[in-house]
Symmetry: C2
Subunit: 332 residues, 2 copies
Amino acid sequence: MAGIRDVARLAGVSTATVTRALRDEPSVAPKTKERVRAAALRLDYVPSAAARALSQGHSTLLGLFVPDIVNPFYAEVAQGMEDRAAEARFHCVIASSHLNRERERQLLTSLQDGTLAGLAATTVGTDEAFTQALSAMPGPLVLVDRRPRGLKAPLVRTDNRKVTREAIRGLFEMGHTRIAMISGPQDFDTACQRLSGFRMAHRDAGVRVTEQLVRHGHLGETGGHQAMTELLAMDPRPTAVFCFNNLVTVGALKAIREAGLAIPADISLLAFDDMSLFPLVDPPITAIAQPAYEMGRAAAEILLRQLAGETGIDDRVLPATLIPRASLGPPR
Amino acid sequence: MAGIRDVARLAGVSTATVTRALRDEPSVAPKTKERVRAAALRLDYVPSAAARALSQGHSTLLGLFVPDIVNPFYAEVAQGMEDRAAEARFHCVIASSHLNRERERQLLTSLQDGTLAGLAATTVGTDEAFTQALSAMPGPLVLVDRRPRGLKAPLVRTDNRKVTREAIRGLFEMGHTRIAMISGPQDFDTACQRLSGFRMAHRDAGVRVTEQLVRHGHLGETGGHQAMTELLAMDPRPTAVFCFNNLVTVGALKAIREAGLAIPADISLLAFDDMSLFPLVDPPITAIAQPAYEMGRAAAEILLRQLAGETGIDDRVLPATLIPRASLGPPR
């Protein structure tokens, strides 16, 4: 790992200036700060925040709030965060609200006592009281995946809109025109961004979105199963369906199986978020894979930089990738 | 939920005696204590430990230590524990060591300050120093799935040996005689118990275990993939394989696919631990399902009872169930 000397050398300043620059002290000129931050970023340098925190009797425990630890996306985010934290001798604890906003708020309250040195959060709460509770947490905050309205903190996310737009364009190119989407709660910005990409692809193709084919507010296997069952009861039914996350996809898949329909001959299925078993399902499921592990690492990285005194950290947008498998095909 | 009056009525004692009995105070006769505990158990009664802890300024945070949060078994245990804890107004945080013993030890140390009111642990550490670190945690302890050698605390587990013995017997009845097992580290008692069931089924069938067909020390997809690749290179190769957990099964499945072999015609595949996608894999995977969610609930329940002053709590053994799907068949 790079040390403070390496950063000083690359930036052409003293090690003392590196320290002051990364703490955003006013005595350092803005241009110098910029140079030091660029050098630190390039060398992947993080000051030994753990050593400092410990010597001052502070916590070296980072928290990760997730809505549902049974969703492997969050488990992988957790793993990335733990691994990056461990490199800096920090540790992580995970708190899962099981998609329950009241439980999430209580959890936040129970951890407001300085137990955590910093918090990474993917939350289900969206109202103002919740945003205030989150802002009231001591220590730095980083958001993962989603930004509750009005909350100012660096965010780690993927390019939801762009990757969805391209994937849906692929469905139009195959000849689909009746494409459904099983979406999440309308106050989740991820759901909104994916839906926005879905709409943009329709506009690109000159096809009007059939609003009945867009199902809002679904979460988990149960939500996906219910929405898919409703979609399959429509006449004419959609020839393709896009699920806004992995567990919703599993539920939709089970509903399609139960209806005795073939994928992709009767209906094409596209998932947002990959799962380790999607390649082994019959048929293998085409998915938009988010770099969940890397997102967790980036979240820890941002917390460590904030703990080192860095401010004004930008959002981090990581690319998601469409992984073509066998669940998409031309309509009959 | 049952209250202290219900317990007192059922046990035929005063509410004060219920309180004293559950705190194991010497002033209560052993027979009375037994009657009170039986009544509390039957009514699913837990005193309001949260209320008491809060009024005394104590933590209402329970900890769950798991080796690998990416394994959905532990995520489901976590969910069960969170749900049960929430009913008593306690909250949970999860710490995952990513199968790293050193990280696990450091995590334990970082939480020895009273942050947690109690700890549920499935650990990878097995040596004496580790056992001591675990015993040194303040507050009650419950073990989940595995017992590190020499550690005295109530354990929540499934009947690993029995269910494995029966499942392997089924393979013999189908006509298999060359049955392989991909097992875990030899110092995990779960791996030992499942291996013991595997050996017992061989004895029942009068077939000697081919030691080369038993692969020790494998964990995760990578471990399963490697072990399966080695097994498939043997001549003659096994006609059936039993994987000691879910992620090992996923790795084995991928290796069988890569080798171009058909399940179950070329090789039967049996998993310990179910996964939500196993029914949708080609072919659907036969699995021994542990009641992971219920195990998490039971762990929280035991911690709450200990926090209420109850002592001498027995191990809790929950039944696992063989779920027949399509990955087992007679050998060619």
